[in-house]
């Protein structure tokens, strides 16, 4: 019997939205794992970066939307520069964060930062941190 595997059947609206926001094709990834091998945020992650993209390939978006990994990503583009398939995982991580942030669910609260930390941090860290972690 002929068996046919079809990625389109696994693709749901959220995966399609992630591809649209990121401009990336999640199905191009062949799971070599170079993104995870080089990722500097790995110790604060629950899913490996290559697992995030694998779950998206399989349409399992719930696990991706509630993972810590997307918030530990520092947008350092190490995965982007090493991917042999030209998949920009940095943009995919951003797209997943955007899906959550656009529901006005923030991941950091400026009001909770102690005053001495605000005094201490360089402006560039404050601006980039709150741009990436809040809506």
């Amino acid at each position: 019997m002929r068996t046919s595997l079809d990625a389109e059947q696994l693709k749901n609206d959220i995966v399609a939205r992630i591809e649209e926001l990121s401009g990336e094709n999640v199905y191009a990834c062949y799971q070599c794992g170079r993104c995870s091998a080089g990722c500097p945020g790995i110790e604060a992650m629950d899913l490996l970066p290559n697992q995030v993209i694998r779950l998206l390939q399989m349409g399992q978006v719930d696990e991706v939307l509630r993972c810590k990994t997307i918030w530990a990503c520092a947008s350092c583009f190490t995965c982007e520069s090493r991917c042999p398939k030209g998949v920009d995982l940095t943009r995919i991580m951003e797209a997943v964060r955007q899906i959550i942030l656009r529901q006005n669910i923030d991941h950091a609260k400026l009001a909770e930062l102690p005053d001495e930390m605000i005094e201490d941090l360089p402006q560039a860290a404050l601006v980039s941190g709150f741009r990436k972690l809040t809506s």
Binding site: P122, Q123, A124, A125, V127, G129
Partner: protein, 296 residues
């Protein structure tokens, strides 16, 4: 030679040690960095989602300011500003539809077509002044000072925007060699310091700093050199947080490449602002470097 210069928010505040040492060094080497009029914050990072054009306005406005002056290039010394300005510029050059949309939205501004070249100060030092010229000027310079260059992310990545090979860069090494220093090529030099995670996840950044600085210590470095104010904060100031997780940790001073250059050029200590550092670089500079750069 005069080149328009974009400072950015951090260089004007917590990273005066970067700005003043850069301006003084460039001037000593015959380049006047002329601060752009009416510049605004570049936004530091822009949203990577393709439908968010709002966060491209701030960097593009700055490039319009450059265009208004009749200039075709702008130099910055902050890796984050460099990345953001260059990314917006690349988008304008690549995507006609988005370019038109943003130009129409900013109807009060003249149209921008992507004609300005965004340069990092390192590129000006290499291509306009030349590392050979710097070497000839500095002489024996900093012989004996062991320097581990640290790139971080945005000088090198994303691939489309980096100023050197993302896996095997050499521009900082070449510059440090030109001032006579002993260069240590550290395997952590291209690894991210944790960047903006320093706002919400100090432990993650402390662990990055422990590894990056620890590697340079093991290789015998006297100092680490960087170009980014967030890398500088994370690698220097967060050494205090590393001590919470590793009591055996012994740190290193972290300097901007411009401070090393200013020191090698024998410029006054007032432009280096060593008082802004968590780990004071003066003892090691005074004991290791042959030049009596610290004269004040």
């Amino acid at each position: 030679m005069r080149i328009p210069y974009y400072p950015g928010c951090t260089v004007k505040t917590t990273a005066k040690n970067l700005e003043e040492s850069a301006l003084a060094s460039a001037a000593a080497l015959g380049i006047e960095l002329e601060e752009l009029e009416r510049w605004n914050c570049c936004g530091v990072v822009a949203c990577l989602a393709g439908d968010n054009l709002m966060e491209q306005l701030a960097p593009i406005r700055n490039l319009i300011r450059v265009q208004e002056q009749g200039a075709d290039r702008v130099v910055t010394m902050c890796s984050l500003c460099y990345g953001t300005l260059k990314a917006a510029n690349a988008l304008f050059r690549r995507d006609e539809e988005k370019r038109e949309k943003i130009n129409q939205f900013m109807y009060e501004e003249p149209d921008y077509e992507g004609g300005v070249e965004v340069l990092h100060l390192l590129e000006v030092l290499r291509d306009e002044i030349g590392f050979d010229t710097i070497a000839a000027r500095v002489g024996e310079g900093l012989a004996g000072l062991r320097i581990a260059p640290y790139y971080g992310c945005l000088l090198l990545r994303p691939r489309e925007l980096g100023l050197d090979d993302p896996e095997d860069p050499h521009i900082l090494e070449d510059l440090m060699e030109s001032v006579g220093a002993d260069v240590i090529v550290d395997p952590y030099r291209t690894e991210c310091c944790g960047s903006y995670q320093t706002v919400s996840n100090i432990d993650l950044v402390a662990e990055r700093t422990r590894r990056i600085v620890g590697s340079a210590v093991r290789r015998g470095a006297d100092i680490i050199v960087t170009s980014c104010p967030v890398c500088h904060f994370n690698l220097d100031r967060r050494q205090r947080d590393v001590l919470r997780i590793d009591r055996e940790f012994s740190g290193l001073p972290v300097l901007y490449f411009t401070q090393v250059l200013a020191f090698a050029l024998d410029l006054p200590e007032s432009v280096m602002h060593f008082d802004l550092h968590e780990i004071d670089p003066r003892p090691v500079l005074e004991s290791k470097a042959r030049t009596a750069g610290v004269s004040e």
